[in-house]
């Protein structure tokens, strides 16, 4: 089983070896992060970036680079990586290539949990809100999968319908809570807008360990996840403890989605697009799919963030709008390919 998967179809056009793929992705990520530091409303030179980090002279340039550009150059790739890995696991768990933290309503659930925690329980600390986001994503994952499963199997239509319905339910509750607590509106819009701009660097340090834990759980499960790509009985025949693997994978997905939402808010459709790219690059084995999704997710989110600074220059667009447009088009292409 595993050996067949190893020979599984990778895109015929790309005949790169795995080391080259990883090297290329890492290089791209470094490049994207450099672009994120230098490009924007003002364009800085590499010298100025170097100065800001290693010879901080208190000048405006140094303050902007270290205080504003650096956090987003770190948070964007980390969120992208988290959503990419979460997307891979969600698509495997549901055996559904159009599943993602968005189409399953996980982003919306995490946002709702953040709003509830802040308004109803007075949670203010970043760590507390991050925890709430992960909890919201976890509960939504369980409920959506549970409802879809009891509605007659995890067919693509069922699971997406349930997810979309949960998302609109969450949005409605968020709307009610926000309109009735306008004092906290401004502060919470920060979480709900889906953007990397103006995030404090502390969010990065909060999110990093969570993403690492989620990623490590995913990697530890990679063999079992490989087997789950077939059907349940095959996986069970290969000795995979289905319940335990699913449960742990849910925890990982919730941690990753929660971390991403707590850092950047619901950035749309990253978790849908990235796994497809990762599979084309490294094939179906999760031990490679997950790292490739993390790296590509990082590149994708960072580049989208850079693009967001220029599409309606001089004003900045929220990155969520850009990823939503790209993601929606990819979703259409995926559906049409299934139809063909």
């Amino acid at each position: 089983m595993v050996s067949t998967l190893a020979m599984s179809p990778r895109s015929p056009g790309l005949r790169l070896g795995l080391p080259q793929v990883y090297a290329g992705l890492i290089l791209l990520l470094a490049l994207a992060m450099l672009m994120s530091l230098t490009l924007g409303y003002k364009i800085y030179s590499l010298d100025q970036v170097w100065m800001a980090f290693f010879a901080h002279d208190g000048s405006e340039t140094a303050v902007v680079i270290a205080g504003l550009r650096l956090p987003r150059a770190l948070i964007a790739p980390l969120s992208g990586a988290a959503l990419g890995m979460a997307g891979v696991m969600v698509q495997t768990l549901s055996r559904n290539r159009i599943a993602s933290p968005d189409t399953l309503g996980l982003n919306a659930g995490a946002s709702l949990a953040v709003v509830v925690a802040s308004i109803m329980f007075g949670v203010q600390s970043l760590a507390g809100l991050s925890l709430a986001a992960a909890f919201g994503a976890f509960v939504t994952a369980i409920v959506v999968f549970g409802v879809a499963a009891s509605a007659g199997g995890l067919s693509p239509l069922k699971i997406v319908l349930v997810g979309v319905t949960f998302a609109s339910l969450s949005h409605a509750f968020v709307e009610v809570l926000l309109t009735s607590n306008e004092a906290q509106l401004q502060q919470l819009l920060f979480w709900l807008s889906g953007a990397f701009v103006d995030r404090p660097i502390a969010l990065f340090y909060n999110g990093l360990p969570v993403v690492i834990v989620g990623g490590v759980i995913g990697l530890a499960l990679s063999r079992a996840l490989d087997a789950l790509q077939a059907d349940d009985s095959t996986a069970a025949g290969l000795g995979v403890p289905l319940g335990a693997v699913r449960g742990l994978a849910f925890v990982a997905v919730a941690l990753l989605t929660g971390a991403a939402v707590s850092m950047a808010g619901p950035v749309a459709f990253v978790g849908l697009v990235v796994p497809h790219a990762a599979r084309r690059l490294v094939g179906l084995r999760h031990i490679h799919q997950l790292p490739a999704a993390a790296l590509f997710g990082g590149v994708y989110a960072t580049l989208a963030d850079v693009a967001a600074r220029f599409v309606i220059y001089p004003v900045e667009a929220p990155v969520g709008a850009i990823t939503a447009v790209v993601g929606a088009v990819v979703l259409l292409v995926l559906l049409m390919r299934r139809a063909a």
Binding site: A151, L169, V176, T179, A317, V325, A328, A339
Partner: protein, 347 residues
Amino acid sequence: MTTLAVTAPAGRRFGIGAIVLIITGLFVLLCLAAIAFGSTWIPLETVAHVILGGGEKTEKLVVWQLRMPRVMAAAIAGAAIAFSGYLLQRITRNELASPGVLGVVDGAALGVVLFLAIFSNESNSLTVSVAWQPLAAAIGALTAISLVFILSGRQSSSAIRLLLFGIAIAAVAKALTTVFMLIGPIYQAAQAARWLAGAVNAISWSEIQIMALCLVPTVLVAGWLAKDLPPADLDDVSSRSIGLNLPVYRIAVFFVAALLTSIAVAFVGGVGFLGLIAPHLARLLVGRARFAGILASMLIGAMMLIGADLLVRVAFTPLEVPAGTVTAIVGAPYFLFLLMRKDKTNG
């Protein structure tokens, strides 16, 4: 078909008539109650008095200028969206179909947001008449549903395919709506955001007039089309054999349904799940009878939106919580319930 009608027991047919009458009665009561409730309570007999032309000046003002427009708008829009949902569920033979799931609502929303973004000037007022807004919504909705059709291609008779593409087109439209709200002037963005959530608060008589003028012919055409709706348990082949030109007929029904929703949505915004639930409840109450079903759907749709608006007015005053949130909070769980129940019966 005729044999069915003839053999239907008289008591059952009387039953349907009685149920429709009861729903109509409830509808009238709810309308009166919705006018009576608010920041100040106006006794029902005063409401009736004012409507019949009497009453004092302040009472007249509150009833005619403040409360009546909301109730009227909610009733008209709710009925139109429910009719649209009824048509879509019947023509796709899928009780999960609705204007929202097929991308019609988000397409209309995109049309309106584009309209607001393009035709507003520096001082944030519209440069053209607001009467053009339903046209923009209709263009958006028709574009969306055409795309859903074209993309589903030869398989457009499969309801599942249509629903999946509808969800995808809705996602695209939603994404573009966000983008255009950001590009447009800030004031328009705030307006659009409130409107997108679905609210009937700031509606005026002139807007209601335009909405009604657009809807009356559409409803008539829809009713004329509805008389040919194939029975729910007839498949494509059998429908063709009784002389229906299904492809053309289907497209006509889809377009009329899209028009109904888009006109309503142009004025009251994205009210979620109405078009899904109202036809359902109607079917539960009156069964498969066609015109009773349409009438009941429209009345129930109207009552749901009036009720939602009444609830947000009474429970959240002075805040303006959009009525669309109530329909979503009620509608989403019902939809999930349907999803779960449907497969139990289908095995």
